[in-house]
């Protein structure tokens, strides 16, 4: 795999990157993101339901269907957090397959393990891993997913390249992430919702308005549909397709390792 170009979210020649709307040292971002997710881990799923009015379940269902995972396949769920994608994949791959749940945050991974165990799913190995440096050999997985995780990664190009490397030839990567609304009217409503209602809900439910303000800001700083498509192609993935959901508020990108 060729070396990816510099991260577009990092200022060229500088050692800072964005954390929401703030510029922070690159080394600092990972620590701050970890802090956000450690803070919201216990209420993460409740907040997701509340913030998206339950629609995040439909978005994830779409990813599961589009992934087309079948018996015997090896699947990696990067930044898998509370493990809802991993749980579904575990059922699809059957006894002969493998699903690995990975996250950089120990608290989120702990929540994931507890929730999987609550549902009787005990055979999903966990990996506390940075998406930029996945600890798996080349060509290990048939399918890799990253759901609402890529925007929190410091160097997205490096993470995409790492995931492309871990895919088997012909394997697919699916990125589920907030994106740019396609309609200007919807974008205005969405802005009001994100910057006014979201932190309020965070304060009332998770007792943490700042973390939810960061989530809203990080969504705005995330590359739009076509930029992310280009980044996936630069990471060595081909046949990249973009599926806009809910008017582009969320997009699913699917690309294949074709070499």
């Amino acid at each position: 795999m060729s070396k990816p170009p510099p991260a577009p979210d990092a200022i060229p020649g500088s050692v800072t990157t964005h954390f929401g709307f703030q510029q922070v040292p690159v080394a600092e971002k990972q620590r701050r993101v970890r802090g956000v997710f450690s803070s919201v881990a216990a209420k993460y799923d409740v907040m997701n339901d509340l913030m998206s009015l339950g629609v995040h379940r439909l978005w994830k269902r779409f990813v599961i269907d589009l992934a087309g995972v079948r018996a015997g396949e090896r699947v990696l769920d990067v930044a898998g957090g509370t493990g809802d994608l991993a749980r579904e994949f575990r059922g699809l791959v059957g006894a002969s397959g493998l699903v690995v749940l990975s996250d950089i945050n120990a608290e989120m991974l702990g929540e994931g393990r507890a929730r999987l165990a609550d549902r009787g799913v005990l055979d999903v190995p966990l990996a506390l891993a940075n998406a930029e440096q996945l600890p798996f050999p080349d060509a290990s997985f048939d399918c890799i997913t990253i759901g609402f995780g890529l925007r929190n990664v410091t160097d997205k190009d490096r993470a995409l390249a790492a995931m492309a490397r871990a895919l088997k030839p012909g394997g697919r990567l699916l990125v589920l992430e907030f994106s740019k609304p396609l309609n200007a009217g919807l974008a205005k409503i969405y802005d009001q919702y994100s910057f006014k209602l979201l932190p309020l809900m965070g304060r009332l439910v998770a007792k943490d308005a700042a973390s939810y303000r960061y989530l809203a800001e990080s969504i705005r700083m995330h590359p739009d549909q076509s930029t992310l498509k280009g980044m996936m192609e630069a990471a060595g993935l081909g046949r990249v397709q973009v599926y806009n959901l809910t008017g582009g508020i969320v997009a699913v990108h699917r690309g294949y390792r074709l070499d």
Partner: protein, 210 residues
């Protein structure tokens, strides 16, 4: 016009769920890996590229290589093709424009047509064998009752319009009337011929008079 990606995704998911019901169908799709079929709807301007692979089929709006076979038709024509395929009928319906490897198209249609599923078996995963048998039997009975009720209603309505209100004619009356019209037409034709003969005879008589 570019095919909406969500429509492609919906078609792909539906086809893969359907193909996933039959393991042999997936094996046959795997054998067709690397080939592609383009379906073009003339009225909407949408193109679907179908690429079979081991997991079923991938559907996209554009192809990086030239498809092996391209089918163009109005949306209804493609729907007719889909219905024929689903019912297991071989051959292609009329009105399709097919370019390229038609054998590939027919092979893929055959794979789809061979997939079948047992509704009882499917329902038994959720509710158990006994309940699945009762539910499926109940649904079949309900559908059968609905179908026969519709047939009975249409027959009763036709009979009422025919016998009671006289708005509709009985088929025997219609036949009798058309026979009478035919007889009248033949009689008129004969009369016309006789008159023509008489006129001709009169013209001949006048021309012989000095």
């Amino acid at each position: 016009m570019t095919t909406p990606p969500l429509i492609c995704a919906t078609l792909e998911v539906a086809l893969n769920r359907y193909l996933g019901l039959e393991r042999s169908a997936l094996a046959e799709c795997s054998a067709l890996s690397g080939r592609s079929i383009a379906l073009h709807t003339e009225d909407l301007g949408w193109t679907f590229i179908l690429e079979p692979h081991a997991g079923g089929v991938r559907v996209s709006a554009e192809s990086v290589v030239t498809p092996d076979v391209r089918v163009s038709a109005p949306t209804l024509g493609l729907l007719r093709l889909a219905l024929r395929t689903a019912s297991g009928t071989s051959g292609l319906p009329a009105g399709l424009e097919v370019e390229g490897d038609t054998e590939l198209l027919e092979h893929f249609n055959t794979i789809l047509g061979r997939v079948g599923f047992d509704t009882e078996e499917l329902a038994s995963k959720w509710v158990g064998n006994g309940m699945a048998h009762r539910i499926v039997g109940g649904v079949r009975g309900l559908l059968g009752f609905g179908r026969s009720a519709v047939e009975r209603l249409s027959m009763d309505t036709a009979e009422y319009l025919r016998e009671e209100t006289g708005d509709l004619a009985r088929s025997a009356d219609v036949e009798e009337w058309t026979d009478a019209v035919d007889a009248l037409r033949e009689g008129t034709d004969r009369l016309e011929a006789r008159l023509a003969r008489i006129e001709a005879a009169m013209d001949e008589g006048q021309s012989k008079t000095p």
